[in-house]
Amino acid sequence: MASLKTATRGRAAEVLERIGHCVELVPLDPNFQEITVGLYVRDSVAIVWTFSRKPGVEERMRVIRDQLVALGGMTAVAGTHDKVVYECGQLHERPLKFLMKRAVEKPPDHRLPEGRVKDLRSPLMLDIKGLEEDGRWVYRVDAEGEAPNEAARLRAVTGGLARYGDMEKAGDDAASFSCGHRHDQLAHLVLPFARNVSQVEDMLAADAMRGQMTTGTLGFSPPT
């Protein structure tokens, strides 16, 4: 057995000094030996990182980084296998969490579905269409089909985009990213989450409770 004292001593602190703060931690990578993968940020550059040293992790980081590009429209930093940026210079951390989770947990060839998505609270089929307005790229929620509550649903979905996309509302059915730039893939990634806030909140709460030790999770009292 390696020395307990010196096997890794201080390595985690050295690494964090270099890669910055953690935006999202995915505890279990189902596509590569159940390693833990984090997305870290330093100076507006996002870095895909794992503390695992299993053979093949560098290639796995490259695959995940490439998925951030394919699914989220990020740009790979030249000459690296693990770094990405958004050209706008911002990182849009809230939607980046959803993007990172998908990049790790879905198969490496996973792509965002094309076309409209079904609204979960009405018969409407939803899409978002971007256009430039007053120097900002604005995404308008577009509905196909008929529903008595269409206006309310568009308002709610726009609220969802603001909530999970860190977007700013630009009317009842439109929103733009805070940078004002065009991020089509990110907007399409967020849309399925935006259509049902309560369900997404339940999912996030369930994710958060996994690995927590409380009287509730131990079964010693009703979960809170």
């Binding site: 057995m1 390696a2 020395s3 307990l4 004292k5 010196t6 096997a7 890794t8 001593r9 201080g10 390595r11 985690a12 602190a13 964090l16 703060h21 953690c22 931690l25 505890p27 279990l28 159940e34 390693i35 833990t36 984090g38 794992t50 503390f51 695992s52 040293r53 299993k54 958060a208 409770m209 996994r210 690995g211 927590q212 030790m213 409380t214 009287t215 999770t217 131990l218 079964g219 010693f220 009292s221 009703p222």
Partner: protein, 352 residues
Amino acid sequence: MAFTETMTSRERVMNALAGKPVDRPPVCNPTNVATVDLMDLVDAPFPDACRDPELNAQLAATGYTELGFDAIAPYFTIIQESSALGCDMQWEQKDNWPTVRMSNPIWKGPDDVKVPSGFLKHPDVLAITRSISLLKREFGDEVAIIGKTMGPWTLSYHLFGVEPFLLMTIDDPDLTMECLNRLKEISVLFGQAQIDAGADALTFPDHATGDLVSAEYYRRFLLELHQEMAERLDVPLILHICGKTLDRMDYIAQNNMAMFHFDSKNDAQEAMDIVDGRIGLVGNINNPETLYARGPEEVRQEVYRCMDAGVNMIAPECAVPLATKLENLMEIPKAVRAWCEDHQGNGAVGSG
């Protein structure tokens, strides 16, 4: 002016547990600080790290070598004894806690309480005792090794099932006491084995939490029993009860244990006022909202609030969530040192 430490981690923890002066409050989680990142760092994932002594020691050591805490606590979970006693186990994956399937209890009453002859040789018991030996051999007097033995109240939940046990406390208090008195021998047996292996102190989880039972339950069923544990186990004991406990802290302060590991559901200053020096306090930094979901700045604020209140050892309120970000855990010792630098010379630093 930079704050200068004058004690080893072990001296600091042992002095704090004994109520003696310290150069600064120790950072010491009596339960667990292992996370999924640390598991990767030393290639010792759950559940294997709960069952293999070498993996256990590798992972436990990171609490000191990587996070900078003043203690190492190798018993990460609360299920080792229950597994060895034959409970139906769910070992889970790397990112979740092993649990006992309490809906499928193995015992019904005191006559069932029998310790298997090979209990101390069971792999899930040896995982802890051998790990403690390895850690003690490697670290010696450098850092405190904190073992853990489950109290009879928690063992009852696992072995009899939560609901049947709580109903028993209502229907037949004498039978309940008989169960607890028999089960406490398991607490002593496993606790003593860890002391023999080199543990400097023992955490004693016994979940008579305010979320489930009244303060009167603590006085009636557990106070004397805990006093007996403090007498029989010859190392400092740290009682751990999750949840709301302010209403029973006056009783807890009379149990003769060294410290009480308390939950963030209890106001730190109010808790300090109630115990009034009769027992030390450790913990109180919120897990689900602060350590898991926020950032280092919020962690620092919570550490400062505990330090301002005079909490004796600084720690998360319970076992940390397995997906806690390392930067948040590393902030705890940094914040303690920063607070000490801010308060040098005003008499706040160095008290016991």
